[in-house]
């Protein structure tokens, strides 16, 4: 009951080094609990405003939609800034990189909008920004407290350390 009242970690701290490589990953990830989500769409609106200054939820960089099989349940797709990102590996122009905070980013200057990252990503997170004709994806709000988590009305989106997040998701899966 009191778990929420204890101040959670809101900002990225030290990135975690990936063994065997020079790269680092973010210490935090955003995870989604479908048993709590109410489908209010606030996360998408908050994200859309932060990145594109509009309340049109389709501009958001994470997606929440109704589960077509279990009605009344909502599933989501958001970037988890993978340890070994497929989008990064697939990019023919090397426009995708991991910055010093461990955030996987797309450089708008190098991107040519080919869409390989969208195809390579297991959940197709990068999408085409039709105005600039480049691919865009979650940038973890530059390491700040992510807007989607701030806006979530039912505490379904959580910010957890990578290891705990993995355990949490496993627990959610086995519960179903």
């Amino acid at each position: 009951m009191m778990s929420y009242i204890v101040a959670p970690q809101k900002k990225l701290k030290e990135p975690i080094p990936v063994p065997g490589t020079k790269e680092k990953v973010t210490d935090l990830v955003v995870i989604h609990d479908p048993t709590k989500c109410t489908g209010c769409g606030q996360c998408m609106i908050g994200c859309a405003y932060k990145h594109f200054r509009t309340f049109d939820k389709r501009y958001g960089l994470l997606y929440v939609f109704e589960d077509p099989i279990n009605k009344g349940r909502y599933v989501n797709a958001n970037c988890s800034h993978c340890v070994f990102p497929m989008c990064l590996a697939s990019c023919p122009k090397e426009a995708i990189y991991k910055d010093e905070k461990g955030i996987v980013r797309i450089s708008p200057l190098l991107c040519v909008g080919c869409g390989t990252c969208n195809q390579a990503c297991p959940i197709g997170i990068p999408r085409l920004d039709e105005e600039r004709k480049v691919y865009v994806k979650c940038d973890f709000c530059d390491g700040d407290w992510p807007m989607c988590v701030q806006m979530c009305s039912s505490n379904a989106l959580r910010l957890l350390p990578r290891k705990e997040a993995f355990e949490y998701v496993n627990k959610l899966r086995s519960g179903k």
């Binding site: 109410t38 009344g72 505490n155």
Partner: protein, 299 residues
Amino acid sequence: MGTKASSGSTGTKYGYFLGCVMPAKMPWAEKATFLVSKHLGLDFDYMKESVCCVRPGVWKAINPDWWLTLTSQNLATAEKQNIVIVDSCNGCYISHWECLQELKEEPEKLEMVNRNLEKAGLKVTLSTDVKHFLQVLYEDVGIEKIKENVVKPLNIRIMRHIGCHARKHDERFPMYFDEIMRATGATIVDTPYDKTCCGLLLYFADPKTSIFERIGVKMQTAKELDIDAYALICSGCYDQFERAVKVYKDERGIAFETPIVHFSELLALSFGYKPEDFGMMYCRPIPPTKLIQKLKEGK
């Protein structure tokens, strides 16, 4: 009328925050809330000079710092009046509560807020507290006392919509809601859409989805299950329910018949008050004639 509770049992001065929707669209809920709280012997009055809680859905997205500044005006006013803010709208509650938590956690933000409020002659010292109406009823009054005061158990079937923001603290508030509703004698019908958002927050982004795929499915289910009433607590959600009912009537020609009632109305009815005492039949998109009839027959 039931056994009157001893007055001033908790010793806290509560200031009821009306919000935007309640005074304009749900006067019956306002009256019923006051009837219930006075009946339970709470030191309950209006929070005066209140302004909009500053909807977290809009302002937080635009700028979290602005949201903090504007929300803390209400906190400062409450501190001046020496009251505990009581919200029954989930949006107002979460706006005030989160603002208070954030100011407590981050002294820099408190400084920033006070710098902005200073010009209007206000100051936040974080001496106030924010409570949800459910919290006041369940934690401060107690379910036993509510059960004692129920003199006319309601023999009706209801569906409930508790609202998204009430789910922020784990499953606490939904549990309070259910227990208090069961204490009135009403039977709660579970459906897969109980958790679904009313769509008020989504209305700015996608009006069609927010009306037809959120409220639409809820009201359709209520129609199919032949429910007596749709109970809710959040006035923000009521706003969206009312809007959706109107849109359905205008655009699709479907008239829903399940009355949307406020939680405290059902509580007041079970405490022995009559529907006329709080004007239950006035200014509603769906008049609860059938419900009132059923309650009268049940007697």
